[in-house]
Symmetry: C2
Subunit: 378 residues, 2 copies
């Protein structure tokens, strides 16, 4: 076997790059991990801050001398020219370069034209799927802060009055937008950022799992609240969902809720190291079916039943491996952190989803998100 190296070019908005260097860098930069160690190539704009905050063991190499040499050699100082210059020293010919699927395609084309042996690794950093105790603590902290937003939503729903087909709070109609703003403020104060928004949807919108929600929050209808912010400090996400009804749920909605809660319990019971992701999903889907609802019977334009997977890995990305779904491949491992989020969607009776976060252990799972799951808010 020849030499091997990992090679990447991205900003730390790329979760793999964030994991490799352990701090935030706004603009794309090069990183190489080879037999000698890990190296990040940084401009004078970044290197001072990086040396203070970057992961121990990653050597920060000044980029400007490389740029000067590339310009002096008449090659310009484009990212492609710099990549060739860096690889000549840190991943020379004969090295197998493991790269991310997110390496820029034009850079890959240029390097391959120059003879580099690039192989896409998917996932690029498989070690990310098994969380360290520090990562578990960071996710647990993110979930605890996210629970504060649910407390705030419940408080507002309690304080709201039913007024015909609307709710009123502090004298004004209660909308998804207002609830999202109030939840967002709690998260802001807890140093969490809503990188991908917040879902608070009711009525017909709640029957569309990824509808962010807008307009009036309806009494007697399900209100799906799916909150998935990340810690500004650590970068680790939470991902939790609760479903509420202010007023009287329909009998069907109440049955949907009971089925989803039971399916979540079945998911918790099924999850442990060595279980296939699709088997954990089927354990929950069986409970849904036993409750008289559909699972996996999606049609293009309507959304009956349990139409998505049981859950997904969570970490520096809100969706990452491993997956638990009807068609998922792969087995759960101790140290995986996954969501457990069965849901049911009905064009007339809205949506119900309950989502928590667990750590997979050798003999089961440990909940990292702690918050009650009550449907009706009085």
């Amino acid at each position: 076997m020849g030499r091997m190296a990992r090679f990447h070019y991205a900003s730390t908005k790329d979760a793999d790059m964030r994991y490799l260097v352990g701090t935030a860098v706004a603009d794309p930069f090069f990183c190489v991990e080879n037999g000698e160690g890990a190296f990040a190539f940084l401009s004078v704009l970044e290197i001072g801050s990086f040396r203070e905050h970057g992961k121990k063991g990653v050597t920060a190499v000044p980029l400007e001398p490389l740029m000067e040499k590339a310009r002096a050699a008449g090659a310009g100082a484009s990212p492609h020219a710099l990549a060739k210059r860096i690889l000549a020293r840190y991943g020379p010919p004969g090295t197998d370069l493991s790269v991310s699927a997110h390496l820029p395609l034009d850079m890959a084309d240029a390097l391959r034209a120059d003879g580099a042996r690039l192989r896409v690794a998917d996932p690029f950093l498989p070690e990310r799927a098994v969380k360290s105790p520090e990562e578990v603590a960071a996710i647990r902290e993110s979930c605890a802060r996210t629970a504060l937003a649910f407390l705030r939503i419940e408080e507002i729903l309690r304080e709201s009055a039913i007024d015909g087909a609307a709710l009123r709070w502090k004298g004004e109609p209660l909308t998804s937008e207002r609830l999202k703003r109030e939840a967002g403020r709690v998260l802001f104060d807890a140093d969490m950022e809503n990188a991908d928004g917040i879902i608070i949807s009711s009525g017909a919108h709640a029957a569309m799992p990824h509808h962010a929600g807008e307009g009036l929050v309806r009494p007697h209808a399900t209100i799906v609240c799916d909150i998935f912010p990340r810690s500004v400090r650590t970068g680790y996400f939470a991902d939790m969902t609760r479903t509420y009804v202010k007023g009287e749920p329909s009998e069907t909605a109440a049955r949907m809720y009971a089925a989803v809660a039971a399916a979540q319990d079945a998911g918790f019971a099924a999850i442990r190291a060595g279980v296939e992701g699709k088997d954990a999903h089927q354990a929950a889907a069986a409970v849904i079916r036993d409750s008289g609802f559909g699972a996996g019977e999606a049609t293009p334009d309507s959304v009956p039943g349990f139409i998505h997977g049981l859950g997904h890995g969570l970490g520096l990305e809100v969706h990452e491996p491993p997956r638990m779904g009807a068609h998922a491949s792969g087995t759960l491992t101790a140290g995986n952190v996954v969501t457990v989020e069965p849901g049911l969607y009905h064009p007339e009776h809205g949506g119900v989803r309950i989502e928590d976060v667990v750590l997979v252990t050798e003999d089961g799972c440990e909940k990292l998100s702690e918050h009650p799951r009550e449907l009706v808010i009085a």
Copy 2:
């Protein structure tokens, strides 16, 4: 010339995809633009919301039937298998496929192995560099909201008292973290999100242009405040910087500030359609040099002088084409929106940067960010 199509696979965190479809979609999806129109391929989780909010003229195509067919054909329903199936219909053999450098490399490899003719276009959507009146209005709005954060920072600095080597505000030492939190709260209330953080740095940190700032804000030292949030609603960024001193600036810092302000004015005067980006940069750099400071003389580990470019395009990304810097290629066009942000950095006297946003016009430029530039806060 044969058939041509644009092909992309990304979430709308990718600015090109956001531009193509005009709304937010959290998970990656396919989009094809060919002679027949523009098509987005979306799962049942997304399609309802997309049809309400997506750009007019983009046809939403349900993904699940394609997945069923791919599974029935024994190919599985991986993104690669779906890409092949979509291209068979929307970009058949013989089509030149223009793709983004951000198309996943493994997907590109699989499609090319299957005979697809992929060519990376950089930029993928060159039309993004010329802003429509709606885009200009969105950026102007983002800048106006960002100015509120500067007002808040100035208010806090005015209210602060000098206490030896520290500032005190509301009885507690004033830190970068507190100022960022207060500025962030103003932005949150204005529905702006700090996708990439906020820089508020003083003292030695301010001499590192991309240091985010931390710890005590120092009296008599420059405080660089660089704020670049995006509108949650429109997705368009602002990018503005002001530099303050609470107390008495050093004579050198005051000279740096005057030089940077004059260089910014020279930048404004130089910018118009038809000017090369590097010439606009040199107009500002000449003023810096005439003021007795360096421009472009960076060394790896120290940061004297004007060590970065004059500015960059701004839109759905905080850094996008065109660039204005010593080595930038390309010419400004009417409708470009660019930052104008000269800076000076000195290991002893800290950093000074002033940044505004302008619209390039046929005969000059129009400022889109409006806020006073005063160094000293009494």
